[in-house]
Structures are given as C-alpha cells and as structure tokens.
C-alpha cells in the first residue's frame, strides 16, 4: 500500500468539476525527481537528445534554486510525493469516438465537444500528462496554421520548437520554471503564419484526474507578423485528499503588427498548488491581451508577464481572482516596457470569502529607453466577510521620466446597506450577495468566452448560495 500524507482540504461540491475517474495509465513514473525518472520520461516520449539533455539540465537547476522567499507558504508541497508523469491508456485521437469512454464523458460534462462544435476552430484536450484529443479546422491547416501538442511539434517542426522552447521563460528563471523544464509534458503548440487572421478561437483544456500527481503542460504560441489569434485555455481537476501540483509554462511570441488574445480560466480543486508561469514577448506594434480567471487551487502563484520589446507594443490584462475557504491566491501581472511608446492597461478584481486570501501582486517596469510609455493599473478587491483577506502589492520601477503612469487600488468590504437594500425587495441574503458579487465582476465577465462566463457565474452561485445554476 502506498502511504500518503493526508492533506486537509476545504471544498464545496463543485458538480461536474469533481467527477473522478478510475486512474488507468499505460505508463506512470515513480514519485519524486531523479535523473533516472527524467530520462525515463524522455525515453517514453521518444525525444531527441537535445530535449533529454535540456530536461536533465533543468533538473540540475531545479535542485540548485530555492523556493521564493515571498508569497504563500509552499512548505506542504513535497515533490518527493508527486508523480510527475502519467500517460493515460490512450493515444492522441482526432475523433472523440476514439477517446476512452470515461475520459470522453469527463470532457463532455465540461462542455468541450459542445463548444468545439459551436464556437471553436480547433480543440486540444489533455488528460493527466498527455493530450488525448486534438482537432483543427481544415481551412486553417490550408492557411498554414499549426495547432498540435508539443510532442508532435518536436517531431514534425523540430526547428521551430528548438528555436523558441523555453527561451521566453528560461528554466533558471525560478524553481518551478526549472521543474517545468525537467518534467514538462503535453500542452499546445500553435503557429500562425504571417498575415493569417484566425477569426475563431482555438481552445486547449487541461484536466488532471490522478491524485498525488503533477501536470506540467507547455504552451508555445507563435503569431507571426500581421497575424492574429484568440487562444483559450481551461484547466480543472477533481478534488483529492493529497496534494497535486500544476506547474505549466506558457510562452507567447507576438511578432510585429500581430495580436494575440489569451484567455484562461483555472478552476482547480482545492488540493492543488498552481504555480504556473506565463509570459509573452511582444514586438513592434504588436498586442497581447490577457484575460485571466483564477478560481480554484489551494495556493496559486500566477503573474503573467508581458515584455513589450518593440515600439508601440501594447499589453492589456484583465484578471479576476476568487479566493474561498482555505485558499491563498497570489495573482497579478507584470509588464516590462522595453521600448518607446509602449502601453499597458491592467485591470484586476478579486473577491475573498470565508477566510480566503486574495492578493494582487504586480509589477510595472519602464526601462530607460521607453520614452513616452504609458501604463494604467486598476485593482479592486471585495471582501465578503471580516475573516477574509485582501491586499495589493504593486511594484513600480521607472527609469524614465517621460512616461504616463496611473495606479488605483480599491479594497473594500461588501456593503451591508446594499445587501439590506436588495433584501428589502424580497431577495434572499445569499442571492443579494451573489447579485452584488456578480455585478462587481461584470466588467470582467464581459471579456470572458461565453462558456467561461457561465462557469464563473456558476461558481459565484455555488460559493454564495450553495446551488449550481
């Protein structure tokens, strides 16, 4: 019998998100992190030598780096207890009919095939460590758009992957970037050729089913000159009584005149340590738009970064974080203005409830040469009771005096008078609170893809009224 440390987990019944399947796999690595385990993963994936070496080197870096001295407590996370690689007992399929029944059912209940039919130009679905389904519309393939998992990309587009892979987020960046470099598996590779506008979004969904496991998917997106893309990413996991870890890595390359919108909803269960790294490099006149929702997890540390490298490059960040009982969500965004006339617009909201902790941690850096750059940061926090905690930790580092900078932070509690007002119209206390919270997040909800807006509203209902809409 495996001996596991029991973790105390706070969670509400989250309906479909908590559907647990029997863990079946065709390969599963041992717990912990050793060069042997890493070599075995690489061998299992049939990787070229450069990637095996890359993994081993990352592992060395991982062992050398310390945990971040700031932010949430990570002492409970013990990598010796984590299985880093679990290959489900299926291959990557191009038809849902080929996906094993229970896995297909899980994605069905998450609404993925339905969204695919209704509003997506391509879908990737990852289950534990590997992608089990992938599709892309033919007309996009005909225009040269590539959308596949990273494993396939290494085989078929090795030069491109080699040129970009973990150059935006190098393994030495921090301990979990190094961990990712060592054990990454699955994820998405998207390449949009020059001048191609992908009008309909692509979506990848990441589902971690196995207890005591890690998910380390890698997303590499290259949007070439004058091209555009909307990429959506969803993540979830059912609740377990042991620690799970998610340390994905997202690298986005937005070239001259290109634009990329990257929308994510992370709805992990509350036994999850979500230590995800996301970064974009934006060239001249390029635009990156982040829409980021962090709902689940026990602990999140997530600060998508935009490096505005070319003149007039632009970053927009819209974020929403919801921390309930037992959750510590430390989220925000970083922008580096590294060229003249670059601009950034950051707009975040957070909600904390039942002792949850929601912290905005962000940074805006304006380098010496970034004349006439502009940045606006607005953070709003709503605490639903006196047990919960919220704070804003913005770092502003300006090395140029020809800039335009605005920062506004508002932290407040839900208004008792407003609750009374709504209740005096026959609305129950729970529904009144939910209405106020839904109103508070409404400007963000508007930015989310429809199914995620619905998911967010359901979450609010669940948290505040105990019902699933």
């Amino acid at each position: 019998m495996e001996k596991r440390n029991k973790t105390y987990v706070e969670d509400v019944n989250r309906g479909v998100y908590d559907i647990k399947n029997e863990v079946r796999y065709s390969y599963k690595s041992d717990k912990g992190l050793t060069p042997e385990i890493i070599k075995a993963i690489s061998k299992e994936k049939n990787e070229p030598k450069w990637m095996t070496d890359f993994r081993l080197k990352s592992l060395e870096v991982y062992h050398k780096l310390d945990l971040p001295p700031w932010g949430p407590d990570l002492s409970e996370l013990n990598m010796e207890d984590i299985v880093t690689y679990i290959r489900p007992d299926t291959k990557m399929n191009t038809s849902w009919d080929e996906v094993p029944e229970d896995i297909k059912k899980t994605f069905d209940s998450l609404g993925i095939p339905e969204a695919e039919r209704a509003a997506l130009a391509g879908v990737g679905a990852q289950y534990d460590s590997e992608v089990v389904y992938h599709s892309i519309r033919e007309e996009l393939t005909a225009q040269g758009v590539i959308y596949t998992d990273i494993e396939t990309a290494i085989k078929e587009y090795e030069d491109i992957v080699k040129e970009y892979f973990m150059t935006c987020v190098p393994p030495k960046d921090h301990k979990f970037a190094a961990l990712h470099g060592a054990v990454w598996s699955g994820g998405s590779f998207v390449y949009v050729p020059e001048g191609v506008n992908v009008d309909i979004p692509l979506q990848s969904y990441f589902r971690l089913n196995a207890p005591g496991a890690g998910q380390f998917e890698h997303t590499l997106i290259i949007v070439e000159k004058g091209a555009s893309l909307h990429f959506i990413e969803g993540c979830s996991a059912p609740i377990h009584s042991v620690i799970n870890i998610h340390a994905g890595c997202v690298e986005l390359f937005v070239k001259e005149d290109a634009s990329l919108r990257y929308s994510t909803i992370e709805n992990w269960s509350r036994n999850m340590y979500n230590l995800n790294t996301k970064r974009a490099i934006v060239e001249k006149n390029g635009t990156i738009e982040w829409v980021s929702g962090s709902f689940g997890s026990k602990v999140s540390m997530l600060y998508p970064m935009s490096i505005l490298r070319g003149e007039r490059a632009k970053a927009e960040f819209t974020g929403i974080t919801f921390a309930g009982k037992g959750q510590h969500l430390d989220t925000g965004t970083k922008v580096i203005h590294a060229a003249p006339h670059t601009s950034s617009n950051i707009n975040t909201k957070s909600i904390s409830k039942d002792g949850g902790i929601a912290i905005y941690r962000g940074a805006v850096k304006i380098s010496k040469n970034a004349n006439h750059s502009k940045s606006t940061v607005t953070c709003e926090s709503l605490m639903l009771d006196s047990k919960s905690k919220s704070d804003t930790i913005p770092v502003i580092d300006i090395m140029n005096d020809k800039v335009d900078l605005g920062h506004e932070a508002k932290i407040g509690r839900i208004s008792e008078e407003a609750i009374f007002y709504l209740m005096s119209r026959g609305i129950s206390e729970e529904e009144a609170k939910a209405m106020i919270v839904r109103g508070f997040v409404e400007p963000i909800t508007k930015e989310l893809p429809l199914e995620y807006a619905v998911e967010m509203n359901n979450l609010i209902n669940l948290e505040l009224e105990g019902t699933i809409g």
Binding site: S424, I427, E429, E431
Partner: protein, 246 residues
Amino acid sequence: MSNELLKINNLSAKVEDKEILKGINLEIKKGEIHVIMGPNGAGKSTLASILMSHPNYEITDGEIIYQGEIINNLSPDEKAKKGIFLSFQYPEEVPGLTVESFLRAAKSSVSNEQVRLMEFKKNLKEKMDLLKIGEDYAKRYLNVGFSGGEKKKNEILQMAMLEPTLSILDETDSGLDVDAVKIVSQGVKMLANNSNAFIIITHHKKILDYIKPDFVHVLIDGKIIKTSDASLADEIEIKGYEWLKI
C-alpha cells in the same frame, strides 16, 4: 376579512445603544394614506428602518402586527414577500446590476414565481412611461450615476412594479424639484386603492399639495404626540413643531 393592515403597539427601538423610538402606537387600515411628520432626529427614518428590519436597528419593546401576525423578527426579504415596501431615502448604488435584471429578480421573488420575460418587459415599459423614466434606464446599473431625483423615481418605479400592500416612503420627496414631487405623487395616486396603504414620511408639506392623506401624525423624540387630519400639516407649516412639544 378585516381591513386592519398594520398595528404598532408600544414600539421601542435602539441603534447602537441609543434609544430612538420610545413607545410608538399606530394603526393603519387598508385604503388609508398616513403621513408622518416631525423634525430632524425625531425617529422618522428609524421607524421606517425598523419596519423593514434594518440589521443595525433593534426592537427593545413592543410589537409590530401586520395582517394579524407579529412580524418583529422577520427578515427584510420575508417582509417584502408579505407585501411591505420601503422607498429608501438614500438608495444604494449597485454597480454591474441592471435595473431590469434586479427588478425581474425582485418581482419573481415577491410574487413567488418566475416572471415571464416578455410580460415583465411590457409591464416595466408601461410603468417607466407613466413615471417619465427614459427607456435606457432599464439597462443602467442600479442607481449608479443617477441624480438624486432619478434615484427617487427609481424607488417609485420599484414600488409600482412590486405592487406592495404596505408602502413606506422615507422622505422620498426631499431634495426633489416640483416636477419630480408631482411625478412621485402621481405614482402613489396611481397605486393607491382599497386593498393597500401608504406611510409617507416627510418633513415638507409640499407633497401634500398633491396627495391627500387620511391621517397626519407628528413624531417628536421617539413618540407620536399628535394625530389629526390633513389640516395638521398646514398648521405645522405655519407654526413649526415647537407648539406641539409639551
């Protein structure tokens, strides 16, 4: 069935350990309009808040009997469902919640059934027209960016939509210009019938130019010290409140 709607017996109440109401007695029958006047700080708004179960106010003595039932301990939403409505002196702003979706949720809740969308929209438009409220208000966030007058009209719109049995108007007329007071009064007249009643709390006589009350009560220092017909308001207009104090 009895015509008696509300009976307040010896009601005392406090806020943060300060006794504000000191034994109020009041009887209201269906079909009646009551006006409560009094100087600032007399306890008028406290009475309104207590009747709607504001969480900061506490009943220390006496009882509120509504349609034969003691309702001292009912929550605001339970009272609303029983047909009690309070028009707020300072309505709250709720960003992100539109007037329309709020009203539909409220209407569904007080009528205990899901209100059909088309029917609701039609009803809302009619009431908005009557109160001379622009159509775009339905899509605006509740009270956000509304002027004082718009907020008060919005209160009357809510009253018109929810069709309460007992409406309490807490200084709905204060801070309004003559036209707005007219519209608010029209709203009351439009709704008033033999099966409902109104309590109009005011310290101006202006609204009484348009609404004829059955009773005027004077509330001073937490007690109703005089009750008479509409002529009492005229007297107060001329003499103030001093002569009423014992």
